[in-house]
């Protein structure tokens, strides 16, 4: 079993707001992140897949294909977007980095062919990241 990690970067904006809460409660819970005009981050995404090395090619997975899937499923949809308004997963869900990691996992899991998804790591800043290992972890 060999693990391969591919990194990508994207920039997006978001804000945190739960319509079930009062404005005061939203403010108390989410603080500055509750600003409805949003704010942005440079996100770093690390996708780790695992598998056996194909004896013929020496590859676990075609890196080019993984890069293409990451670009198509994640960067094209999220780079330079306002997550709350432009990414369907967050129309009714708060785009925290936790929910972002889960949404990215769900987007990628369906599209990866040979390799098995092991981990999605999303850095919101250099000092904060979230890991998601799938529903069954």
């Amino acid at each position: 079993m060999v693990y391969l990690t591919r990194k990508a970067e994207f920039a997006a904006s978001h804000y945190y707001h739960n319509p079930d809460f009062s404005p005061e409660e939203n403010q108390r819970l989410f603080g500055k992140c509750n600003n409805p005009n949003g704010h942005g981050h440079n996100y770093t995404l690390e996708v780790t897949v695992k598998g056996e090395v194909d004896p013929r090619s020496g590859f676990v997975v075609d890196l080019k294909q993984l890069k293409e899937v990451m670009h198509r499923e994640v960067l094209d949809a999220m780079d330079h977007r306002f997550l709350n308004k432009e990414v369907p997963e967050f129309f009714n869900k708060i785009p925290t980095t936790e929910n972002l990691a889960i949404a990215i996992w769900q987007r990628l899991e369906l599209k990866l062919q040979k390799a098995k998804l092991h981990r999605v790591r999303v850095y919101e800043t250099q000092d904060l990241f979230v890991d998601f290992y799938g529903e069954n972890d």
């Binding site: 079993m1 060999v2 013929r56 090619s57 075609d62 092991h118």
Partner: protein
């Protein structure tokens, strides 16, 4: 009390990804630019993780001097500023970073007796890296 220790090293090497059993077209389709007959190079970053009980006398899992000297002798002197394809271990096996990662793990597993080898992680570029734990699942 068990602890894990990771040490980071760097080396540069060249390789060409080419399988003699594939046609030229299939090689190009599989490996793209990496199939260039003259090869190309990378600055690899290598992370070696070992584990063991912390020795109450020294406060160490193992002496870093021993780890450095083993990695220098067994890995860096073997691969730094070399063409991987010219190495006997890659005469048949394609020198992808997957296979290089496995190779380095196997060498250190045989040659480093001072602590348990947990994992080898090899960065080929800033954007991709490979990990091998002797076939075991990674402890996240």
């Amino acid at each position: 009390m068990k602890a894990h220790l990771t040490r980071r090293y760097r080396f540069s090497a060249s390789h060409r990804l080419h399988n003699a059993e594939m046609s030229d077209d299939e090689n190009r389709a599989t490996y793209g630019k990496c199939n260039n007959p003259y090869g190309h190079g990378h600055n690899y970053a290598l992370e070696v993780t070992v584990s063991g009980a912390v020795d109450p006398a020294t406060g160490m899992v193992c002496n870093l001097v021993d780890l450095d000297s083993c990695v220098e002798t067994e890995v860096l002197s073997r691969y730094h500023l070399e063409n991987l394809n010219t190495r006997q271990e890659f005469a048949v096996t394609i020198p992808t970073t997957e296979n290089l990662c496995i190779q380095i793990f196997d060498i250190l597993h045989r040659r480093f007796p001072h602590a348990h080898l947990e994992r080898v992680r090899l960065e080929e570029t800033m954007m991709n890296s490979f990990e091998y734990a002797g076939g075991q699942e990674l402890i996240s």
